[in-house]
């Protein structure tokens, strides 16, 4: 069962502008190992003098997409690695990566559901992999997503999320905006709340859902507390924290 997680070279095949602050990078990896939705890759950048920086990025794509993985990276302006991806990386570039990494924060269609996915900002990335996998695998597991973003333009994968919902009555996607001023937004506003979680659990018809929470530290802490308080068993809640800051 034990296998080495080796550094491999990945070639940037496509760069997709998702939102003003996020881009997706399609990376082609020779003999890409199988992965489970929720896992991440480590990337390693090397300067001419040998200095290196490593960071972790969740896989956004479905395990079914052969030979490639997609990463979706939010720019942290003061950061070292995310601005490099946004401002320097071009199609054809070679990046050193290793993965897939991570065990508890994973979902495969055969482990069943129902699923409650709670996303804060770019925390939607590994949850998107789960949704894409669910769809590609033809799974009918009942799934509710609550996705907290700043404003309408910050919503990553908006069309695709809308399609998952309109094409499948077993999927419910709720976007809540924390900083939208536009009166034209008719969806939810404000942070993830008890009401939003209760609504999602009512749709799932159980509090015994498999819950995946991902995003900045503060979001994960708050959303996991709310799920616990709503009656979800402690052991059913898995979390992944991306770092400081918040939506």
């Amino acid at each position: 069962m034990q296998h080495r997680v080796l550094w491999q070279k990945a070639i940037v095949e496509e760069i997709i502008d998702e939102t003003p602050r996020t881009k997706s990078f399609r990376l082609r990896i020779d003999d890409r190992p199988p992965f489970r939705s929720g896992q991440h890759y480590d990337v390693r950048l090397t300067a001419p003098d040998g200095y290196q920086a490593q960071r972790s990025y969740s896989i956004a794509s479905a395990p079914e997409s052969e030979g490639v993985i997609d990463l979706t990276i939010e720019i942290i302006e003061s950061g070292e690695v995310s601005p490099f991806f946004h401002q320097v990386v071009k199609v054809g570039d070679e990046i050193k990566m290793r993965g897939p990494i991570g065990g508890p924060f994973t979902w495969t269609s055969d482990t069943g559901g129902p699923l409650l996915l709670l996303a804060g900002g770019s925390g939607v990335v590994p949850l998107m992999s789960m949704l894409r996998h669910r769809s590609a695998a033809g799974s009918s597991v009942r799934t509710a997503l609550i996705y907290s973003a700043r404003t309408t333009v910050d919503v990553i994968y908006r069309d695709e999320l809308g399609n998952f919902e309109s094409e499948d009555t077993e999927v419910r996607s709720t976007i809540t905006l924390t900083r939208e001023d536009d009166a034209g937004w008719t969806g939810e506003r404000g942070r993830v709340s008890t009401r939003l979680i209760d609504d999602a659990l009512a749709f799932l018809k159980t509090t015994n859902a498999k819950v995946f929470v991902c995003g900045p530290d503060g979001f994960v802490e708050a959303a996991a507390e709310l799920a616990l308080a709503a009656g979800v068993p402690f052991q059913s809640i898995k979390t992944e924290r991306f770092g400081p800051s918040g939506t």
Binding site: R4, V5, L6, E80, I101, G103, I237
Partner: protein, 199 residues
């Protein structure tokens, strides 16, 4: 080989060398695989066990009567950040082991409220290398960082320093804990960059 166009910000510059692949962090990020457990010192208890039966058990008040040490250590998280010169107060694991008599086992499994586990060789937690820690920077340890008490094994990656610790099982043979069972290294020495299986 260098990555095209990458020079690195290298900021802030760490005051001394940090392990390979790490960056210098001045905050204190958190990493937990699930929700933060609520652990009350009134009902808290801590045991050292053999074959799952307790050899010694402490309540919070009993624990607080044991000799305490102040320590200043560096923390290295496998998610790449290193935090230098963090100040803790705790009880040396050597002090706790004195309560159980002779130990022939060579490994331990640390257990926590919430079900987390992590395995370590006994040699990595004895001779002043590990503590039960309950104060950070002069304040009671916050819940999200493992309060009321966490294990602290600063010379290994931070996932070995189990938060909300409540038991230590003595084992003849090594066995994987929570992260170790899903790809993370059995020992986790940051200076050898032992992050994942096979490193």
């Amino acid at each position: 080989m260098a990555t095209r166009g990458f020079f690195g910000l290298r900021r802030p510059e760490p005051p001394r060398e940090i392990p390979p692949g790490q960056y210098f962090e001045t905050g204190f990020p958190t990493l937990t695989a699930g929700p933060t457990p609520r652990v009350d010192t009134d009902t808290w208890s801590f045991s050292i066990t053999r074959a799952k039966s307790p050899l010694a058990t402490w309540t919070w008040d009993q624990m607080m009567e044991l000799p305490q040490e102040k320590i200043t250590v560096d923390l290295h998280c496998v998610t790449k950040w290193s935090k230098l010169d963090s100040e803790w107060k705790g009880i040396s694991f050597d002090t706790l082991l004195e309560a159980v008599g002779e130990v022939t086992e060579e490994y331990v499994m640390i257990g926590s409220y919430g079900g987390y586990t992590t395995n370590l060789p006994l040699d990595d937690v004895t001779d002043g290398k590990a503590w039960l820690a309950f104060e950070f920077e002069g304040e009671p340890l916050e819940r999200n960082h493992g309060g009321p008490a966490r294990f602290l094994v600063p010379h290994l990656y931070l996932w070995k320093s189990a938060k909300w610790v409540n038991s230590i099982e003595l084992m003849d043979q090594d066995a994987p804990g929570f992260w170790e069972a899903s790809g993370y290294h059995m020992r986790g020495d940051p200076w050898r960059e032992e992050r994942y299986w096979g490193d």
